[in-house]
Symmetry: C2
Subunit: 119 residues, 2 copies
Amino acid sequence: MSIVNFADKFSMFSDHWSPKVIAEMNDYQFKVVKIKGEFVWHQHEETDEVFIVIEGRMHIEFEDRTLTLETGEMYVVPKGVRHKPYAEQECSVLLVEPRGVVNTGEVEGDLTAENDVWI
Amino acid sequence: MSIVNFADKFSMFSDHWSPKVIAEMNDYQFKVVKIKGEFVWHQHEETDEVFIVIEGRMHIEFEDRTLTLETGEMYVVPKGVRHKPYAEQECSVLLVEPRGVVNTGEVEGDLTAENDVWI
């Protein structure tokens, strides 16, 4: 593989809520995604999920609280925990999760993105 | 867990080549490390290893080439591949690798750091 530059990757697309794979480590994938507005409530029954904010501000709503992540911050959503990401303004996010994880978890719908799309 | 702020974590230590765990995702760990000068040649026989430069510039020397990573860039060193990281100036790096990986891989020595130290 070659060096991955996050800014370069984010400059290559403009759609929201559609993660694109930029690298693999063992059976894990690193994905870039731009988010804006509200996602759907969902959970991933088999895995934790890492959010790293590369640029912007996002929120993760849980059943009992809401977290706010700024540029340069990360959070690990534990497996099986229902959550709903959202962002008032466009936010650039790096996700880390096992290969094969679907963005909407157990909840298929309009925002379910094609899996394993590389950029 | 709580939100992890990379800048906060890097402000909490000053030693070099001694990775500190800041988060876990399944059986993987995210570690912050400051590097400066030359590391040792080593490889990790069982796993790929992710380098993400949070601030600064680092190099990874391989047997056939040398890569330079700048702020906002990442690289995945494939398992089993000998490499030697180095940096002329202090560089702040985020590592991602399975729990239990020793920094010097198969080569124990002066730079072998204690494993699983959290910050």
